[in-house]
Amino acid sequence: MAVIKCENLTYVYGEGTPFRKVAVDNVSLEIDEGELVGVIGHTGSGKSTLIQHFNGLLKPTSGSVCIDGERLWDDKKRLRDIRFKVGLVFQYPEYQLFEETVYKDIAFGPKNMGLDEEEIDRRIMETIRMVGLDKSLLEKSPFELSGGQKRRVAIAGVMAMEPKVLILDEPASGLDPKGRDMILGQIREYHKEKKNTVMLVSHSMEDVAKNATKILVMNKSKVFCYDETAAVFHRASELEQMGLSTPQITRVFNRLRAAGIPVEDDVYTVDYGKKLLLKMLRDDRI
């Protein structure tokens, strides 16, 4: 069953002012449980606005969103529970840290859920393991940590609520390549271990190609396509026309094909491409 379902979802910013802007335009979408969905699109394509509807932070101008079969905004009192079910990590989440210690900050969400101390402690220990934070940091002030560590504390703060769906808006932006790979790897591990639904918003094709099982492409406030990763990158030329890059390796293979070498057209990870080329070399096809 679809865990997230939205029908004809439209959201307009600044209705009735000169700044009126349709941010999400008539989006209908069904996301199944257990997927790792990569959301890509240009800045201003409406991806951040779209995901804020999934936990009831924004109210659709028209259309509806259902989480687990429950229509949001029918009962406003239920929204808070929905937010525990759909965990949302904003872009630059380190700006939300406020507590005296890392431990207390991660505990903020679970505490709001009304869990007991023991359960909160168990969850904190589990999430810091998952995001790769050392235990010794727990009693430090979050403001003393490095940028990458702060980011991981903030992500842990949402993970500790053990949401059914975890949505991350550009979790790796502003980090160095090493920190980037680390966080994305941890998210992939989390998905593998928990078998939860994860949505990963990014504008790096490489990140999405490496991690996602399905890809949602947003363009100009609309859904351009939502499909298996391979099928999406199959439409490489269309993506490029929209100004979205495809993974470097896909471009390499497209060039090879254009040069008359008969390679597959569904290559979007380096590993797969390497295997393919080696096999072709062995078979003397190149």
Binding site: G16, V89, F90, Y95, Q96, F108, M161
Partner: protein, 271 residues
């Protein structure tokens, strides 16, 4: 919810009011306030209000915005009306019950003052609707330039004001973002008593203050990198020039002020 704040909001446009020299606009706004206070009768007030409505119509700002600018001052309006109606005891008595006395003079002065306040607010919000904050502080700096030799830090104050105004929307946006992030973690800001509500603000204010300090440091550094050293010898990218329409609007305002004085002679005095 924070997006509803209209004070200091700027609506870009190309109307004649938008294109007036900001210095002239500032002076005209002051002249208009004086005009409203000069009006001592309903006739004079009507001329003053006609001036606001005319300016508003010329600016092309939607009429709705005028009403929106009045919303925050509703409590003040009601308070003033109540004070005037219940505490002025001169004139014909219209209503009397135990200690409550309502007189004609009370009602008349309540109506008069409400119209005057509405005019003040609408007229001065027109200034901020049609002038960008940068233009406005620039205008203030230049109007006060003559007192610079008196060792008043005019430039520094104007710069501080520009920066403050510039960061209002940024801070609002930031607050919205942090609020959303904390709500996503289940922060409850709507229910509970006053103490609980106040405590719910901690997760919002701490990150906000931390990031404001960070921003201030970064801005200071960026200014220094561009060799900012105060107002001494600084030239301007945008020169302000008064043109025909500025003189025309000055003349028109003068005519309206004369109109207020003249109309006042015709009508019965309220004040």
């Amino acid at each position: 919810m924070l997006k509803d704040i209209t004070i200091g909001q700027f609506f870009p446009g190309h109307s004649i009011i938008h294109r007036l020299d900001p210095r002239v606009k500032l002076i005209l706004t002051i002249a208009f306030i004086v005009m409203l206070f000069m009006a001592g009768s309903f006739y004079g007030l009507a001329v003053g209000m006609a001036f606001v409505l005319l300016s508003f119509a010329l600016s092309g700002i939607p009429f709705r915005m005028m009403l929106k600018s009045l919303r925050p001052i509703m409590p003040i309006l009601i308070f003033t009306a109540v004070l005037n109606i219940f505490f002025i005891k001169t004139g014909d008595v219209w209503f009397h019950w135990r200690f409550i006395t309502i007189t004609q003079n009370g009602v008349v002065s309540a109506v008069f003052i409400i119209i005057r306040i509405v005019g003040l607010i609408v007229g001065s919000s027109l200034l901020t609707y049609t002038t960008s904050p940068i233009q406005l502080t620039d205008a203030i700096e230049r109007l006060f330039a003559p007192i610079k030799p008196l060792r008043r830090p005019v430039h520094d104050l104007a710069m501080m004001m520009t920066i403050a105004l510039r960061f209002i929307p940024t801070l609002i946006e930031e607050t919205d973002k942090i609020m959303a992030a904390q709500k996503a973690r289940g922060a409850d800001m709507e229910s509970g008593n006053l103490v609980k509500k106040a405590r719910a603000l901690v997760p919002i204010f701490v990150p906000l203050i931390v990031s404001s300090f960070k921003r201030a440091m970064e801005l200071a550094l960026a200014m220094e990198c561009r060799c900012y050293h105060g107002g001494e010898g600084r030239t301007r990218m945008k020169q302000m020039k008064t043109s025909l329409r500025d003189y025309a609007s000055l003349a028109l305002t003068a005519v309206f002020i004369a109109g207020v004085v003249f109309a006042d002679k015709l009508g019965p005095k309220v004040f």
